[in-house]
Structure formats: structure tokens, C-alpha cells
């Protein structure tokens, strides 16, 4: 199981792709949602962190999660690639999450395989204490790819996509810890896209960066949108309005309102949304 050929079917049965064909009961008019969250309750032990979340995230768009601190944005995000499995006592107590039509909490789903499809970029950049090259190649190598030329090619393409190639092409064998904070975060993005996921989750990717580095990442996100579905958590309203197509506002573990970014920012349905966006909240 460790060294599976990455080109073969990536998930244990049922395969994500196959299922996507015959389970897409979407009526949203646009394409079927790639992530479909239905009535999810989430508990950390006894304390409830999410209640009754229902949300559809469309493919190849940027969806922003916003909301005050502690409202459960990260929790929901980490549900999407099952990173919450690592926390003892944490579990979804109700509802289903489907990605490409497959219930990702089904016992037949292998979270390892799921995570190859759903990449993640963390709030604090966390490159491994290895070379830049090895960082980007890591996901491929653990997936069983050992071919040197193939690796070279993918590493270069990923670094180019993450707009990091020009800065690093001469120092691929240097330790990644020597990069600046913004470069490190872009390296983490390159690392995530190297395994060619369908979805990239980003948890406040710019919170530790200066405005210029933030701009570069935002630009990068807009570019990546054509190939990937991106879910981003942010505290920065301008950032949400600049980069996202859709926005979801959370409060105390509940989804307050969700819609196109334009609509949420200009013409929200709910009073709370308007208050939060204009900064009059709490």
C-alpha cells in the first residue's frame, strides 16, 4: 500500500472519479459541486465545534471561509482531508461530506489516498528540514515515484506554478529552512500541487506574511484557480473579496450565510453578515 503506482486508481473502491459519474444530484444550475457538505455536526470529545453545516463547494473556484476566531473554520477545513482523524476523540457525529461524490468518511476510504487528492497549506509555513527539491518531491516519493527525470520535471513545473522557480532554480539543493517566510509558504504550495490534487485547502496562508508576499500569494491563488478547486480560510476581508468567487461566513460553529462573494459583500441577506463585513461585529 505504501508504494502504489500513482497512475493507478488512487483510492480504494469505490473510486472517486467513477462515483462522480452517477452521483451528482446537484440542481445548482452550474457544474456539480466537487465538495458537498450535508448537515455536518462535529465534536471535539464532548464539546461541539460545528453544528448542522450544509455547504456545496463548486469545482475550480476559490471559496473563502470567514468568521470570527474560534467559529470553526479550521475545523471544517480539516474535516475535508480528514486531518481531524489525528486528534483523539474528534469526530463527525452527524451528516456526510462527499468529495467527487464519495462519502469520505466511508470505512472503505483510505485517508492517505484522500489526502493525495485534497492537499493542504498551513497557516504557519512548515517546510521539512530538507532541500528545496526534496520538499517538493516528498509527496511524489512517498507515493512511490522514483524516476529521476519524472521527479525533475514535476518539481520544476510545481515550482513554476507556485511562482518560485526563478528564485530557487539555482539553489534546489539548499536547505528549505533558509528561504524567507513568503518563499517558504510558496514552497509549501508548490509541495502541495506537486502531487496534483483536485482540491487545495489553505488555512490563513498569508497571516504571517508582509503585504508584498501576501500579494504574490493572492496572485498565485488566482492563477491556480484554473486548475484547482481552492478553499481558503482568511481573516482579511479585503483578501476574501479580492481572491474568492464564493464566500461562507461562520459564527459559533454555524454557517451564517453563503453565496457569491459579490453578493455577500455587497448585498448580504443577513444582518449579522453585514455587521461582520463592515467590522461592526461583536
Amino acid at each position: 500500500m505504501l508504494l502504489e503506482n500513482p497512475n493507478s486508481s488512487l483510492m480504494e473502491t469505490p473510486s472517486l472519479e467513477e462515483d462522480a459519474v452517477h452521483t451528482s444530484p446537484s440542481d445548482s444550475g452550474e457544474s456539480a459541486p466537487i465538495i458537498d457538505i450535508e448537515g455536518v455536526d462535529f465534536h471535539y470529545g464532548k464539546s461541539k465545534a460545528l453544528s448542522d453545516i450544509t455547504l456545496a463547494i463548486p469545482e475550480k473556484q476559490v471559496t473563502a471561509f470567514i468568521g470570527p476566531s474560534g467559529c470553526g473554520k479550521s475545523t471544517l477545513l480539516r474535516c475535508l482531508n480528514r486531518m481531524n482523524d489525528l486528534i483523539e476523540g474528534a469526530q463527525i457525529s452527524k451528516g456526510v461530506i462527499r468529495i467527487l461524490g464519495t462519502d469520505i468518511y466511508d470505512p472503505t476510504v483510505d485517508p492517505i489516498e484522500l489526502r493525495k487528492h485534497v492537499g493542504m497549506v498551513f497557516q504557519k509555513s512548515n517546510p521539512f528540514p530538507k532541500t528545496i527539491y526534496d520538499n517538493v518531491a516528498y509527496g511524489l516519493r512517498v507515493g512511490g515515484l522514483t524516476d529521476k527525470h519524472g521527479l525533475d520535471e514535476i518539481v520544476e513545473r510545481s515550482l513554476r506554478s507556485a511562482a518560485l522557480w526563478d528564485e530557487t532554480k539555482d539553489r534546489l539543493k539548499d536547505n528549505a529552512m533558509g528561504l524567507s517566510g513568503g518563499q517558504q509558504q510558496r514552497l509549501c504550495i508548490a509541495r502541495a500541487i506537486a502531487v496534483q490534487p483536485k482540491i487545495i485547502l489553505m488555512d490563513e496562508p498569508c497571516s504571517a506574511l508582509d503585504p508584498i508576499a501576501t500579494m504574490r500569494i493572492e496572485k498565485l491563488i488566482s492563477e491556480l484557480k484554473s486548475d484547482y478547486t481552492i478553499v481558503i480560510v482568511t481573516h482579511n476581508m479585503q483578501q476574501a473579496s479580492r481572491v474568492s468567487d464564493r464566500t461562507a461566513l461562520f459564527y459559533l460553529g454555524e454557517l451564517v450565510e453563503e453565496g457569491t462573494t459579490e453578493q455577500i459583500f455587497q448585498n448580504p441577506d443577513k444582518k449579522e453578515t453585514e455587521d461582520y463585513i463592515s467590522g461592526r461585529f461583536g
Partner: protein
Amino acid sequence: MNAPEPNPFTKKRDRIQILGLNRESMLKYFFGGNASLAIVVLSLICIFLAKEALQFFPSHHRGLQLYRLSGQEFVDYLEDESRQHKKAAGYLARAYYGEINASSKREQGLLVAYEELSERLERETSKEALLFNTTFENLLDLQFEIEDSESEEDGAESFDIEAAKAEVTALTTRLEERRRTLRERKTDALKDPGMRELDSPISLSETEFQNIAEAIITTDPDAEDDAPHIQELNRTIDDKKAAAEAEYQDLFTQLEAFRAAGRPLDELIGPLRDHARTTKERAVAAETLRKGKEALLAGAENARDPERRAEFLADAEAIELEEVPYDELNQIFYDNIDAHHAVTSQMMRDLEQLGSQVVASGQTTIAQTNLSRFREELPELLTMLGETNDKLKAWRHDTPFPFLPSVLAFFTGKDWVTNSSWHDFYGFLPLFTGSILISLIALIVTVPFSVGAAIYVNQIAGWREQNLIKPVVEFIQAIPSIVLGFFGIAVLGTTLREVSQLEWLAWVPGFPMQERLNVLNAGLLLAFMAIPTVFTLAEDALNNVPRSFTEGSLALGATKVQTILRIVVPGALSGIIAAILLGFGRIIGETMVVLLVAGGSISLPDFSEGIGVITQPVHTMTGIIAQETGEVDQGSIHYRALFLLGMVLFSISLLINYSAQKIVFKYQLAR
């Protein structure tokens, strides 16, 4: 009152002040004082150790000089030859007796079984045997008294012979009764199936067992001879041995001739050795006097009181120094070089001839191995005999012993011989080898266990298991080492030896073990002691790997095992290496366990067995210090040699700690 305007940043005065110090500076000095005290103590220890230890080298040098001056060096060249000859002869003898004993192996095994079984039965039937013996002794006493009174002509007054004779009859009946009971009891005990499980090397067939059982049952405590079966066994053994002796007559003659060939050399050595020893004693006595005189003169120089100075001077005057006439005394050695040449040339001729006669291979494995060893030793002996004479010709008692080689003689010396009537040798190698061998075994066992356990506990185990394993492993540290040593002697040693005697393990090098206390035993115990140290530190190192690394790896689709092997362990590697080094430091410095369990043999282990060397007994640097420090005179060369060992140990520990710190430091920078 025109005080200067206080600015807002003026220091507030502390109300509590002692010796002009306020509370804050007092605390500062207190902690600073503690730190400097530690440094001062450490430096004092270093200086003290170094002072005592380094004085060893001049004393050692002087000792070696006397060794040469008194001709002991000369004699030891000869002794080396004789020793090598005896070694070769020993192998030949073992080969011969191996063949002889093999002829009656079965019968000897039966005898061993007989003895073991009788011993067991004696324990089983001790009560019945006691009753039997009492009656038997009473009967003997009575018969003796009757005889006594019969021989005395007029003894009929006080002793009633008739009554006594009646008593004898009664006792005899009772004795027969008890004999029956005893035999019955023995027969019963023998029916226990456990009686058939013997420690003896051979397994008995049913008839053999029955014969032996029969012999045991019929041998009563009053029996004067062995049972016929046993007598027969002994006869068979004697016959077979005699037959074998006849068969191996040639080998025996060769063995005798081989031994005889060495006798002239030994006869030559005898008087020379005594002469050298006497010279050495004179030299040492003269040396002691000279030192005493020097000390008195120095005392006189330093004394302030003129009266005391006069006293010292008078005392010093009274000591008459003896000039030992070395040239004259050594003449005997030079005179004997030709005799030695004659002896060894003859010996070489004899041995060469004998060597070609001895059979190439034996019947039994014992004979075979010993014969092949003999063949290895013989050429060495011959070259030695050929070369020694030139060495003797080149030897001069008055060539000064150079200083540097005397230092090297410590570090490369293979003998540690103290309190000897001949010469004390201080060779560091056997002790160092012992310490290193034990540490290696301990490390080889410790590292996989403790690092594996640390990885398991830190990365895989749930909190319930963690809460069980961690305290248990750390609890091991609370076991006093003396208790562990005791365990090593009483339990581990015996168990290891029993395991090593299992037939299907005979292929393991060094098995079956000759000794219970050896490198392996000590190494295993030390490993047990070091596991908590390495485990705890390695676990800490693993814990220090940031969680974000693990999460990052898992988020990229790596499995748990991949994450551990590619991210966590490399991230903690320097910490783990530092943990192993500190464990090594703990192992090499440990004293009690090695003193008790390493076997205490101060000789260089025999590496010809390869890895089997770990089943040999050794001594260690720490062990020898603990064992000998109590009984040496302060300031003697032996005392200083022990200090030097201490300093070497200290340097090793220091080096280990330093490297561990270096590694940890590097590792912290990387993050």
C-alpha cells in the same frame, strides 16, 4: 536643602541591604557563586586527578629501568620461550587425553549418571538412611564392647555378655528390617518419572537405567564395596583406557619427548630467575633507602628549628646508601648466553623432528582441534627459539630504558600484574579491551531496544500505552546497580550458561560458555541499565520534532510509517545520537555491575574465537579501580596507575559528553 532634582529614572533604593548589597544583587551573587563553585570543584578534581595520575609515568619508567638493570628482562626472554613450549605441549597433552577419554565416554557417562542418581536418592531417603545408620552403629558399638570384655580375662563382673549377645541378635533383626524398608523406599522413589531426567550428558537406555537403579538399591550405607555393576563399569573403563593407551602409545611417547625437550631450558632458567629476583630485591631496597635519605635531606632544608634540622641531618647521615654492583651482578647472564644457545639449538632440532612425527589428525573433535592448535603454535615456538639468542646478544643491562616507550608500555601493555614477587606490569590494554567489549555488547542491545521503544511510544502508542510504558521503563533506573549485579550472578549467568549448553545452539560462536560471569552477561545487564537513559532522551528528541512537520507530511498523503521514517526520525536523529552517546557514557562508567559480573579475569581476551570472545571473562577499568584502590599504599606506583586509569575514564566520559553536546547544538541550529 538643595537636593538635586531627582529625574524620573533614578534607581529606587532597596530598603533591605546587607553589606551594601540589595536583594537583587544578593540573588545575583548567590546564583553566580553557585555556578562558579561548580566550576572550581570541577577544576580541582581535574587538577588532583592529573597530578596523581601523571606522576605514574616517571615511576613506571623507573620501574622498567630496574627491571632491565636487575636482569629480569633477560630472564623473561627465556621465560617467554619456556611458556610457548608449555603452551604447545599443553595442546598436545589435551589431544592425547581427549583420545584416551573418548574410548570410554559411554561408561564414564554412565558413572556420572550413577553418581547423580545416587545423590538424589540419598536426599529422598535420608530419613530411612538415618534410622538404618543409627541401628548399624549401635550394633557395631555393642559388638565392639563384647569383643572387649571377652579379651579381658576377668571382665565378667560388670558386663553381662549373655544379655549383650541377645541384644545383638535383636539389633541384627532390626537392622535387616530397616535395610528392607530402605530398599523399598529407594525402589519407590525410583519409580518417579522425574528420576529419569538427568543432567548427565548421555541419555540412558532402559536396561542401562535398570542396571544403575539396581546397583543403587542394593548398595546399602554399610556396603564396603561398590555394587558389582559399578565395579564392572570401572573395570571396563580401565580396560578401555589401557587399550587406548596402547593404541596411542606413539602419541604418548611423543608427548613425553616433547615435554622432556623443554627441560634443559627450564633448568637453565631456574637459577637465573632466582639471581635476577635477588638483584631486584637489592635494587628496590637501595632505591627505598635513597628515597628516604632524599626525603630527610629535603626535610632538613625546610626545617626552621635548628635542632630539628640537626636531627634530620643526623638521621640522613645514618642512612648508608648501597651502590648495587649491577655490572658484576649481570655478568652471569652474559656468561649464560652460549649455554642458552646450545640448549635452544638442541631443542629446535628435537622439536622439529617430533613435530613431523605427530599424527596429522585425531579421532575425536577434541583431539582434532587441539592438534591443529598445536600445529599453529609449534612454528611460532621454533621461530622464537631461533630468534631469542640474537635478542640476548644485543641485550645490555645498562642501556637506559627510553621514556617514551615506557609510556607506550602502559598503553599497549598486555599484562596487568600487581603485588608480584617478580615484577609488576601495568598494561592498560586488557582493562580497556574489557571495558570496550562490554560497552559494545551493551550498546548493540540498548540502541535498537530503546530507540525502537521511544519511536513506538512517541509515535504509535495511544496515551493509555504511553502511560504504562514510560513509567515502567523509567522505573528500571531506580534499581540499584548492586541488585542488578546480584541478579546477574544468581539468575542471568546461570540461565545464559544453561541456554548456551543447548545442543541445537552449539553453532553459536563461543557456545557452550565456559564461564557464567563474562562479557555477554555484563553487557546485557548494562544494556538493561542504559535503556531508560537512552529511551527517555530519544523520546524527548522525537517529541521535539515539530508537530507541523508530521502534519505536513500526512497532508501530502504519506502514511504513518513513511512519516516516521522520513520526517520524524531524521528530524530527531541528532538528538537520538546524543542520547546514544550519553547512554554509552553511562555504560562505560558503570562500576558495580561489571565488578560483580564481568568475571574479573585480568588478561587480554582471546580474539582467535572471533565473536565468541564475548563469552570470556574480562576485567574493566572501573572494576579494577574499585577493587584495588582500597588496598594500595598512597603514593605507590600502583596507586598512581589506578589514578591514571581514572583519568583515562574521565577523559573518555568528557569526550563523549562533549560530542553529545556538540551534536545537540548543531541540531538546535538546524531548526
